[in-house]
C-alpha cells in the first residue's frame, strides 16, 4: 500500500524542473536534459496510473515502455541535429544568433 500523493508530487516536481531546464539553459545539450526530465515526469504519471487502474490491457505500463523507446529515438535525432548545428556554427549556444 502506498499513498498516491507522493508519486504525484514527484511528477509535479519533475515537470517543473524540466520546464526550468528547457528555458534556463543556453547549451543545446543541457536543454535536451530538461526535455528528458519532462518526458520522465510523463513516464512516472503513466506508471502510477497504470498501477492504480485495474486495467486488463495494462495500458499505463505498456505506454511507458513505448514512451521510453520514443524518447530514445527522439534523443538520437536531436543529438544528430545538435552535431550538425555544431559543425555549421562552431558552437551550440542557443542564445547567440547563427553566423
Amino acid at each position: 500500500m502506498i499513498h498516491l500523493w507522493m508519486p504525484l508530487l514527484l511528477v509535479c516536481v519533475l515537470a517543473g524542473t524540466g520546464a526550468y531546464g528547457v528555458i534556463a539553459r543556453r547549451n543545446a545539450v543541457l536543454v535536451l536534459i530538461g526535455v528528458e526530465l519532462l518526458l520522465n515526469a510523463a513516464n512516472l504519471l503513466f506508471v502510477t496510473m497504470g498501477s492504480v487502474l485495474n486495467d486488463p490491457l495494462r495500458t499505463g505500463h505498456v505506454l511507458t515502455l513505448f514512451l521510453i523507446t520514443i524518447a530514445a529515438a527522439e534523443m538520437g535525432v536531436a543529438l544528430a541535429v545538435i552535431l550538425a548545428l555544431f559543425r555549421d556554427r562552431g558552437h551550440i549556444d542557443l542564445s547567440e544568433p547563427g553566423s
Binding site: 500500500m1 502506498i2 526550468y20 536534459i33 485495474n54 486488463p56 505500463h61 523507446t69 524518447a71 544528430a80
Partner: protein
Amino acid sequence: MTTLDILFAAVGLITAASAVLAVTTHHLVHAALWLVVTLGTLAGCYLVLGAELVALVQLLVYVGAVVVLVLFALMLTRAPMGRTPDQSSSPTQRAAAAVIGAATTTLFAAVLLPSLGGQVLATRAGDTQGIATQLFGAWVWPFELLSLLLLMALIAAFAVSRMPSRRTTVPEERAAQPESPKTVTGVTSA
C-alpha cells in the same frame, strides 16, 4: 505511513534533488551525471510502484543508452570541463525560467493532487507476465510500428549528419577570390 511510503519518499527525494541539480549545475558534464542519478533513482521509484519490467527497461535504455548519447554529444561539441559560468544564462532568464517552472509545478499539483492524491494504492508487483501477454497481444501492432519509428529515427539521424555544412563550403568559395585576407581567417576559424 507504510513501508512502501517510506521507501518511495527516500527514493523520490533523491530523484527530485538530483533533477534540480541536473538543471542548475554549472559543470556541463556534471549535469549529465546528475541525470544518471535522476533516471536511476526513478527506476527505483518504478520498482517501489510495482513495475519491475518498466524499471529494468528504464535502466537499460535511459541510463545505458540515452545518457551515453548525451555524454558523447557533450564531448563531440567540445564541452569545456570544469565550471563554466560564462556559459550559464543571465539572471533574468533564470528568474523567468524559475517562475515558469514553479507555475508548471503548481498547475500540475493543483490538477493532480486534489483529484487523485487521497487514494491509497495497492501495488500490483510481479505482473510481468500480464504486461508481456498484453504487449504481444493487444498492443502488438503499435509495438511493430515502434520498430518502424526506430528505423526512421536511425535513417533520419544519418541523413542529418550527412547534410552538407555551410562551414565546409564557405572557405572554398572565399578561396576562389584571391584578393581577400578574410580567406585565411575563414579557414582557421573553420
